[in-house]
Symmetry: C2
Subunit: 458 residues, 2 copies
């Protein structure tokens, strides 16, 4: 049973100098340093267990998220962990509704003014900070239960699971009762699905082959290597130059053959009309989906693109940048996407992701998580494995993104076998980084950065 | 002509201890300290003029916005002001697309990973910081031109005006050419409308009468005072308790009579079905609009509420929390609102507000700005006066919110006469605060806070 009072919350600005690969970014983007705001929760419990939480950032800006985590800290410190997870919905609401951080409903008798203000809420920096803090709480909870997070969720009774979800603003499509009913119905065959996961893992796809601006030779080499490694699903980046896209998509499609799956990702490059026009010209290469064709805020835009591309057999995929459940609710209502891509660090941790998984199930839209960056693979594998065992009960049109990057800094790195995520066996949320990695990469005082900054004469 | 190189950007955490009114906030909200991240831009020009920009916050959290402003500073420092406003669209895009702060489109040859990450973008803390910085740029530009901001905009030729707007993600509803055409068509009668504004001002409504939880006596007293002062439009806060709302709305409607305008504001209290049900019961009091019935992110939710309430003659008003032009675009596309409420500090300054004013004109939706807080009245009056003279050319169903609060801290406070905003005559954006107010209220080292914090034994 969970226990202990939160005695300490520390947050670290951890940055990996990935921008020093020497390979410049393109004209519209500068070099990123893959980074994380890394939260450590300690309690006064004798077990000495700690909870680790991250949210993913890109160098500059991490300090802003760290600043937001510190602003949220008072909500967590000295709280009893049992009280937190015992009323997890209430605690989530408290974090996301921080009076001063989020919004106010207040009377100044002096002026009679009542005010509603948000620096979030449930979006941007404050929501990323919320994710980091709550990811640490979930990691600690799972560790105290001695289970990997996916198993903690799988073993949880439906009523307890939904008690972690804030249904505010989504009851018009999903009520608590409906959520419970979905979970109850999925009890059938759970055991078999868990065994299936343990035996074969969750299908993954690779995003490491066909990057914009790769020379064709590199592209060919990476493709054939990936094919050798058993990958059957490939994502190609598009959107910079149409002729270049056509050449590269043809090359990849020829390499992988007509049977394997090809996906395309535009990273929000287009306006709505441009997206339709562009993808119409790439349709001949039979992409399963076009990912992020336009602004992540543009629900109706995604719906228009979906409608226009459906006759061509191309689905729209989006979600990695969608900032909360209200956006996902609308994407589903508007039939704006055919593949839903959750992100473990952008939504409000497991709590908000649960509500999105359940809404996706209700609308029968497959969830294909976003991963990569720092730790996103480690975290999101838990969510999608739980989704299969306890919610979707299907692998149809489903797969989880995989990028082979920075796993060496994690204490419990992902395990990929035959293009599939093998379920983590260690207790927790796989969020814990190696102490030495954190120490060396802390910005700006970690050894790695001290060297770099002094070299730069800073 | 604008000139000078930005030699210094300083940002201050300015907080007014409004939470010490001794009047508690309600159960779901804590006490706010009306605050601002206050930006000061200096150049190397001999005129010695400074640009002042603010974004509105509520105490805790201001330091997060300050942190974000500092992260944006490198984009502004040492830039030539002429270059900034000469390619204002490009500069806006640069700020909102900061490689590391906003999103990345980057190749790591080591892994081939390409990454797209946002801690904003164009939303939350980072966008508030963008507003503060750009508000300062506009203030400085207007000061150098020796005009109040509204006049600078009114006198600007259409082509230059639209060159300040980033049309990215809105070209499916408004292109640069359409925007120019709207502005050209509104040239007719401009001079007369400017004279009309100078003579009579822009109509305002008061949000200072009917607050949740006011005793009926207070409510009556404030109403009759407002009536005496010539106010004809009144907003009532609703959403906490239906019976209480019914009693208070009846009281106010009886006081102001059937002819005057009554509006209601729920401050996001409801889910969609609840909003429709609740407002149906308040319809008898003939509200012109229901403001913020649900989540500001819920475009389709607002559309559903609009559709359900239209037969009752109640329009939906929203916008003060809408985080960028893409949300406004969709609210207009979805017929989700009947009154559009811009905010001078939530959108990306004048630049983004211009695009929203033009979209509203195209959809023939009246703009009724949100104001209050710290400086919001001072800023937004410029935008709405420009809107009347150069864009909407109409006062039909239009009015600007007014709250009588904290104006004494501003060097150029709003001037209200007969329930109307009189156009500012001083050069600039009315963003400049009194030096002494800033000094005394700087957090935590200002005199006011030193006293308070030591009193609290901190």
């Amino acid at each position: 049973m969970v226990h202990g009072r939160v005695s300490r919350l520390s947050v670290h600005d951890v940055r990996f100098p990935t921008s020093l690969g020497g390979h410049g970014s393109d004209a519209m983007h500068t070099d990123p340093d893959y980074s994380a705001a890394y939260v450590v929760l300690e309690t006064d419990a004798e077990d000495g267990l700690k909870g680790y939480g991250i949210t993913f950032t890109l160098g500059r800006g991490t300090e802003v998220v760290v600043c937001a985590v510190n602003a949220l800290a008072p909500h967590v410190l000295n709280k009893d962990l049992g009280d937190i997870v015992g009323d997890f919905r209430g605690f989530y609401r408290q974090l996301t509704s921080d009076g001063q951080l989020r919004w106010i409903f207040y009377r100044l008798q002096t002026t009679g003014e009542e005010l509603n203000l948000q620096i979030g809420p449930e979006k941007g920096v404050v929501h990323l900070a919320t994710a980091a803090v709550l990811n640490a709480v979930w990691d600690l909870w799972a560790k105290q239960e001695g289970k990997p997070l996916w198993k903690l969720l799988v073993d949880m009774d439906p009523r307890t699971l939904v008690s972690c979800i804030d249904f505010r603003y989504i009851t018009d499509v999903l009520t608590e009762e409906e959520a419970c009913e979905i979970l109850r119905q999925s009890q059938v065959g759970k055991k078999e699905r868990e065994e299936q996961m343990l035996a074969h893992g969750y299908p993954a796809y690779t995003t490491s082959c066909a990057w914009l601006g790769y020379p064709d030779a590199t592209l060919k080499q990476l493709c054939s290597e990936a094919l050798k490694d058993g990958w059957t699903r490939f994502k190609v980046k598009v959107g910079a130059d149409l002729q270049d896209d056509i050449r590269r998509c043809r090359l990849v499609r020829n390499m992988i053959g007509p049977e394997k799956t090809l996906m395309m990702d535009a990273n929000q490059r287009w306006d709505v009309p441009e997206a339709v026009e562009w993808m119409t010209k790439l349709a001949e290469f039979k992409p399963l989906w076009i990912e992020e064709p336009t602004s992540p805020d543009d629900i109706l835009g995604h719906a228009a693109i979906s409608k226009a591309l459906a006759p061509l057999g191309i689905g729209v995929a989006t979600g990695e940048q969608c900032h909360n459940r209200v956006i996902f609710k609308q994407l589903l209502q508007a039939k704006a996407l055919k593949f839903l891509q959750i992100d473990s660090c952008r939504l409000g941790s497991v709590n908000e992701n649960l509500s999105v998984l359940l809404m996706a199930k209700k609308f029968e839209i497959p969830v294909c998580p976003h991963a990569g960056g720092v730790g996103l693979c480690e975290l999101v594998q838990h969510l999608i494995i739980f989704d299969f065992i306890s919610v979707s009960a299907s692998l149809q049109d489903r797969m989880c993104e995989y990028v082979d990057h920075l796993h060496e800094h994690f204490k419990y790195p992902v395990l990929i076998r035959e293009a599939a995520y093998l379920p983590p066996k260690d207790a927790g949320y796989s969020t814990e980084m190696k102490e030495d990695s954190v120490k060396r990469h802390r910005y700006p005082d970690g050894e790695v950065w001290k060297k770099l900054l002094s070299a730069q004469g800073n």
